[in-house]
Amino acid sequence: MNQSSRFNNALTAFYKTIILVLLLVTPALNADAKWWIFGQSDVGVSTRYIYINDLSYDELGNKVTFYQESLPDGKIFIRGKGSAGKNRIGAVQVSLDGKETWQKAQVANDGSFIYSFTPEVGQSYEVYVKVLDTTGKSNDVDASRKELLISDESMQDQVYKTLDQLVKAYRDEDSFAFMRLVSDQFVSGTAILDSAIRNDFTIFDNIQLDYTLNNVTSANNGNLFAFINFSRMVTSSRSGETFSDQASTEFIFRLENSVPKIYSMKSPLIFGLSDAGNVATGVVNTGENNQILIVSDSGEISLGSVNGIAGSGSGSVPLPQNLTVEDFIPHHIISLGFTVLPDVVGNSDYEMVLEEALSVSGPWIEVYRHTLDTSEINNFTSDHIAHGDGPLLYYRIILEKVSDGDRSDPSNVVSVDNS
């Protein structure tokens, strides 16, 4: 792709993002919008934003549990910014006991404030934030209510609870219960994961899953890294065959209303493996080379190894391109040529697989397989699946890694008239 088209693509995307922002901000600026209540900041006193230990107030529910071990220096920090239109912010007060008593927060000239306290484990705090301007007007104090619970349970306990519920929902094939434990911000998209696990439930039966949690490490923004080992057994609902595997994998969880929810997953996947390429972001680096369950696009289950970076096409298998018909005699022979990276030709690690179909949309049938000693197929007998005159025949090439069966994406499709 040349620089000019890259620039055009970037420019197009830039315009799209501008349009998106305008689409969003325009209704937001309309204070009379019935379903969208904004603009309170222009009149009266309000809080423009509040954070509790780097978590946005707006993103938290009414009840929030903080875990002692995740508190920075054992403290809760409430920081935010007040707004009073043309007036200045005079004071900010915080109540921890349901408006019984009020504590002063430190306030800067621009209305930003910070308040911190060291909570007691097992205690609950009914928090209100009162912002006062210099004329004594205050914000809607009741709207700032949060109930904070301080738990001495470890983050590891919380991850255990979430994983137990996820495993149970997955074994019970309950997509409702499962998706409740997936973050709205799931990196690969909640809709993609939802479709993938529903497909898992169609493809798998009798799911048996056992896991052990190795390590949980928390980041300062509330994200949690978890490394686990798992073993599982499933029955293919198509073939009735039973498959089992074991491996290690990594999750990132995101705390939402005090519950760790799945934010991203790496290959090998435990959940959503029927669309592994789109669901997983990355591959674990453990040095293990276990045979793990792999689900093909057509829903067939096999055992193979995970390699390369999931989600970046077909990993390290080169793509065959520019498939062309060199020669063709109806009902007799066909010769094809294609291009691929020069150093791959002659490499015994790969095989070329020729597929034939009666329609461009398939189904595709493997009709020829050979070591990749050349990028040509000469005088191959055609007509494997067509009998009689008439139909067009379609061909495409796929490269397959001999060691693990990893496949490239298909080449372009060529057709010949078999009349």
Partner: protein, 527 residues
């Protein structure tokens, strides 16, 4: 890190010993907590098809020990963590004894140092994985200097990779500078460098850098705009195809409006095919637009709707481009028919994908109803799914299940009976096959709060009836008993437990039959 931790099979023991020595002084000065879960598992497998089982036969043990210590050293708060795991069940871990956690955290509110297990979440694209190494963060809310984070280490998944079971040595260094430009706007720049050594099992090696800018802006109360753009320059070395260079870009813009009664999220993302995210989270070769709207129409009625579109082949490097559309809508109504505990949900999702090579259209219709009738809690789910992949699949599925649980108190005993019934029917019109699954079970929970005992017994059967392959049936039974004795005043959450499990698999082909019997006895202690 290797200079500190040379490869040696004896290292685990020495590291553990050194860490214990290191931990001992602060342990007595600070606040120590210990968590231990130890169990013995006896598994018996029988039948000709027992090799299919995912359980390990014989007597196995499994034990996890975590030590945590908190305290104060001069102006610095610290916390230390150390964890080990021991098992002789290879399916649970390939290592008999392994170090699971080794970390230290020191902070005086302005300067923070993490060593050992370190997880700094820079941003979605830049860095979103844990490392074994160290990080330092400077953050002072009292002045206008930027927040600075530095880290370095090796992106191994487990500590064992330092001395055996070797993985690719992925050295990772990063820096992030975050500056508040205004009180409601911050901007950050992150640089992450990766250098791989020692390829295992032909995994590709990566060497390169990622430069990322991200920002968050809150122009109005309830409205947040997040932007991120990232440039990666990474060389990928494959054993067969040599070195290939990947210079890619990723960017996203997200707007979140959250104020009752609505929550609206709009997101646009474009990740070029050559953008490799080794330490962050991104799916290459994707252009995506997502919109979701949760609208609380009344206190009782909430409507969720969402739309996702994405496509690949952004640079025309593939033979075909696949487009995906996934719209969905659902409504949740509480207190239906004026019943206090009734919650009904009705949802529809479509999953459409098409290209010149494939065309798929799936429809999911689901309904659920939850209610309470006296002492009985009931949940019923019904779903219909239509799958259509042109010329490959054309089938429909029906799924329905219902569960009823109850709770009776009789003196000091709480009884919790449960019944579950479920069915699934799949009609494959192309192959003219109809398959069924039936699942039914009964359970009985028995809690004695005064004795700190909870227990649950469950028995059921799961049958898969295939028209063109082996039928299978699994008869299962499980028993879980937990006893929380008050042993010592300082012991919290100590639990003794007993778990039993029986799975009896039967197939049409009897040579595949097998049976799993497993008994687990263990205890958990925390103090």
């Amino acid at each position: 890190m290797h200079c500190f931790l040379p490869k040696s099979p004896k290292l685990p023991i020495s590291v553990m010993f050194l860490f214990c020595v290191f931990l001992t002084p602060p342990v007595f000065a600070g606040n120590l907590s210990i968590w231990n879960d130890t169990s013995v598992i006896m598994t018996d497998l029988s039948g000709p098809g027992q090799s299919s089982s995912s359980l390990t036969e014989g007597l196995r043990h499994y034990s996890v020990l975590d030590l945590k210590s908190r305290g104060k050293l001069s102006a610095y708060d610290y916390s230390l963590g150390f964890g080990i795991k021991a098992t002789n069940d290879e399916r649970r871990d390939s290592e008999e004894i392994s170090l699971t956690t080794l970390k230290g955290h020191f902070s005086n509110r302005i300067n923070t140092l993490n060593v050992g297990d370190t997880y700094e979440s820079f941003s979605k694209y830049a860095l979103n994985t844990a490392i074994k190494g160290a990080s330092y963060r400077y953050r002072n809310d009292g002045n206008k200097l930027p927040e600075i984070t530095l880290l370095g280490g090796v992106a191994y998944s487990r500590w064992d990779n330092f001395w055996d079971n070797d993985a690719t040595e992925r050295k990772l260094y990063g820096a992030r500078v975050k500056q508040n430009l205004m009180q409601n706007l911050w901007l950050a720049t992150s640089v992450v460098s990766i250098k791989d050594d020692d390829s295992y099992f032909d995994s590709p090696l990566y060497d390169g850098n990622t430069l990322t800018f991200d920002l968050e802006y809150q122009p109005l109360p309830g409205l947040t705009i997040i932007g991120e753009t990232s440039f990666s320059h990474i060389d990928e070395e494959n054993a067969t195809s040599g070195v290939s260079k990947h210079n890619g870009q990723a960017y996203r813009l997200e707007a979140i409006g959250d104020q009752d009664p609505s929550r609206v999220v709009l997101e646009y993302e474009r990740i070029s095919p050559d953008y490799l995210s080794i330490a962050g989270s991104a799916t290459a070769d994707r252009e995506k637009f997502k919109a979701s709207w949760r609208y609380r129409y009344t206190r009782k009625l909430t409507i969720n709707s969402a739309f996702l579109w994405y496509r690949d082949n952004l640079d025309g490097q593939l033979a075909v481009r696949t487009q995906h559309y996934k719209p969905e809508i659902s409504a949740t109504l509480q207190q239906l028919f004026s019943r206090r505990y009734a919650i009904a949900t009705l949802g529809y999702k479509m999953d459409r994908s098409y290209s010149s090579a494939v065309s798929t259209q799936n429809h999911f219709v689901t309904a659920s109803y939850r209610d309470r009738f006296g002492v009985f809690d009931s949940t019923t789910n019904v779903g219909v799914t239509l799958y259509e992949t042109k010329t490959v699949t054309d089938n429909d599925e029906f799924i329905a299940n219902t569960s009823v649980t109850a709770r009776f108190t009789q003196g000091n005993i709480i009884w919790k009976p449960a019944i579950y019934l479920g069915t699934w029917r799949s009609d494959d019109e192309l192959n003219d096959d109809i398959d069924y699954i039936y699942d039914y079970s009964v359970g009985l929970g028995c809690d004695i709060p005064s004795k700190k005992i909870t227990s649950k017994l469950k028995v059921g059967k799961h049958k898969l009836l295939k028209e063109s392959a082996d039928d299978s049936a699994r008869l299962y039974a499980s028993l879980d008993v937990y006893y929380r004795p008050k042993l010592m005043a300082q012991l919290k959450n100590s639990t003794l437990y007993l778990r039993g499990l029986v799975n009896d698999y039967e197939y049409t082909t009897s040579s595949r039959d097998f049976r799993e019997n497993r008994v687990t006895v263990g205890f958990k202690i925390r103090f």
